[in-house]
């Protein structure tokens, strides 16, 4: 089975790292095949970015994501830019304060509108944890990598002194999905 995820936003939000963590969780802790392809414009900060992650039980031949099962957008520009590869009926998660999803899209996809950035800023206490909040949401919604594996992959990537903060972000993220 091949499952494609896309994380998008603007440079500096940490979407790329979130994607990398997801791929590493699949490879290191679930013994699956995974690939990670970042796309960014020349600008590093502020430019639209996306990270495509493919997770599969078998060898992945074609490494570009073009039939997305799970799309996450926390910036309006990238929602419009990158939603076209989403499969009908697939999951789309947006930051409700950033992205206005048109009604027709709500009919086509399973849309979740969540306060991701606000949660990071106010409930976790640091806006830079928005990407980890996103991973918490993804653990619950995509149901492709177990929360345990995902958290282990987070541990590998974040500095030890921020681990508690990130753990909190991850758990609050999961709890956003009712």
């Amino acid at each position: 089975m091949r499952y494609e995820l896309r994380f998008s936003g603007v440079g500096g939000q940490g979407n790329m790292l979130a994607g990398m963590i997801l791929a590493e969780a699949a490879i290191y802790f679930e013994n699956k095949h995974a690939s990670y392809v970042p796309t960014y414009t020349s600008q590093v900060r502020g430019g639209p970015t996306k990270a495509d992650i493919i997770i599969s039980d078998n060898t992945i031949l074609y490494l570009e994501a073009n039939s997305i099962d799970y799309f996450m957008a926390i910036h309006p520009r990238t929602y419009d830019m990158y939603k076209s590869d989403s499969k009908p009926g697939s999951i789309i998660v947006v930051d409700m304060h950033m992205v206005q999803v048109p009604d027709e899209d709500k009919k086509k996809f399973k849309v979740y509108e969540l306060p991701i950035v606000e949660t990071a800023r106010n409930k976790v206490g640091n806006v830079i944890t928005a990407n980890i909040v996103s991973l918490g949401v993804t653990a619950k919604l995509a149901n492709i990598i177990s929360p345990e594996s995902l958290f282990k992959a987070i541990e590998r990537r974040v500095p030890p002194k921020f681990l508690d903060l990130n753990e909190k972000a991850f758990e609050i993220g999961m709890s956003l999905v009712k």
Binding site: M20, A23, E24, I27, Y28, H33, A34, S35, Y36, V37, P38, T39, Y40, T41, S42, I60, L61, Y62, L63, E64, N66
Partner: protein, 397 residues
């Protein structure tokens, strides 16, 4: 023992270079190859090696040439505009026969083009980019793991043949991270240039007494010699004698052609009974494989021919494949480059095995192909999708 890591193409190029024994890098940053420079900048100082960020790409290749003459295995890396700037240096390394590896993470467009997007548009540049008649070796890794193994192979060929070797990756492979299985270090074959054993007064840098690839001494090793970008004789000094220059020019090219059976690697995928042959290389071949698999599921007899070495093109193996094919589909992420080589071969343009006294010596073992040729080309900065290739397969099936 096999090793498994998660890495992207640029990181694997760095690993490969280091494991091949590269201890000298000179480069200039450019997307999407910069991580090669950054990786070398992290690793080389730790190993006591030299990393230099030069003032431009021209200086980078010149400096790498100097380092190679100084006795090191050297590498430079760039993309698009930077590779264009390096061309004069490529020619110098060719004629002076200086081992060197050049990484080109191919990106889209002429000029600044599409800096972050994939292309395979420098295939012909790798063959003919520098002026004058010259040999060309270019390897095209098809996966992140091959970024590692092909970089090592590039060093081996550069050292063994005393010539610059390109590794052509692309913007997609460069940044694609995935799990890669690498061969165990003990399985690696590492080649080193032949160094002279004669007495210094008997040494000449282009002395064919020891074969068509003469030993190369390191500067300051006691063998004092001269190197020039001018055509020269065995002593390394300028010489314009037409008889000598004909044989020397031919030797330069023949040293590659005569070894093409070993150098020109390729993969045959599901070709045994194939009537339709897809030709794809580099990262584009993974989509082609998926298309082949899908077409096979619907009963179409199709396979993939994947050159891993693009120059010299594996012409003889391709002739064998083409001889029994009914349809050949060339797909590449450009608006037509390798397809011209394919067409030439199909029309009876045989593999050239050697140039002898101005005559091209062709391999005549295989008949010309009567297959029809079609293409799936794209140069818009995005990879070609398996569906595009699949529909072409179905179209001609």
């Amino acid at each position: 023992m096999k090793r498994a890591v998660v890495a992207n193409g640029n990181e694997m190029v760095v690993e490969g270079a280091i494991d091949a024994g590269c201890r000298f890098f000179a480069g200039y940053p450019i997307t999407p190859s910069s991580e090669v420079a950054e990786g070398m900048a992290r690793k080389l100082p730790k190993l006591g090696g030299v990393f230099l960020q030069m003032e431009d790409e021209i200086a980078s290749i010149a400096c790498a040439i100097g380092g190679s003459l100084g006795g090191e295995k050297t590498m430079t890396a760039s993309s698009g505009p930077g590779i264009s700037l390096k061309q004069e240096g490529v020619g110098l390394a060719c004629i002076a026969e200086i081992p060197l590896v050049i990484i080109n993470a191919m990106r889209g467009g002429p000029s600044t083009g599409l800096p972050t997007r994939i292309a395979q548009s420098d295939i012909m540049q790798a063959r003919w980019g520098t002026h004058g008649d010259h040999p060309a070796v270019a390897l095209c890794p098809g996966s992140v793991a091959e970024c590692y193994t092909e970089t090592i192979r590039a060093f081996n060929i550069a050292e063994e043949l005393r010539t610059p070797v390109y590794v052509l990756s692309d913007a997609f492979l460069a940044h694609l991270s995935t799990k890669v299985e690498l061969p165990g270090k003990e399985e690696l074959k590492i080649a080193n240039r032949l160094r002279p054993t004669v007495k210094p007064e008997e040494y000449y840098p282009y002395d064919t007494r020891f074969g068509d690839i003469p030993p190369l001494a390191d500067y300051f090793s006691g063998y004092r010699f001269h190197v020039t970008g001018l055509n020269h004789d065995k002593t390394g000094f300028p010489n314009i004698d037409p008889v000598l220059q004909e044989s020397e020019e031919e030797r330069l090219i023949n040293k590659v052609l005569k070894r093409q059976e070993a150098i020109s690697t390729y993969e045959n995928y599901k070709l045994e009974d194939a009537q339709i042959v897809v030709v794809a290389y580099g990262s584009n071949a993974s989509g082609a494989k998926e298309a082949v698999d899908a077409a096979r599921e619907s009963g179409i007899k199709v396979g993939l021919f994947r050159p891993i070495t693009v120059w010299p093109f594996p012409s003889i193996p391709f002739q064998e494949v083409a001889a029994s094919a009914k349809q050949i589909i060339v797909t590449e992420v450009n608006l037509g480059q390798i397809v011209y080589e394919i067409e030439r071969i199909m029309l009876g343009g045989r593999a050239v095995t050697e140039i002898r006294n101005g005559n091209l010596i062709f391999d005549t073992r295989h008949p010309r192909s009567s297959a029809e040729l079609s293409t799936v080309l794209q140069a818009n900065g995005t990879p070609i999708r398996p569906n595009q290739i699949l529909s072409q397969i179905k179209e001609v099936a």
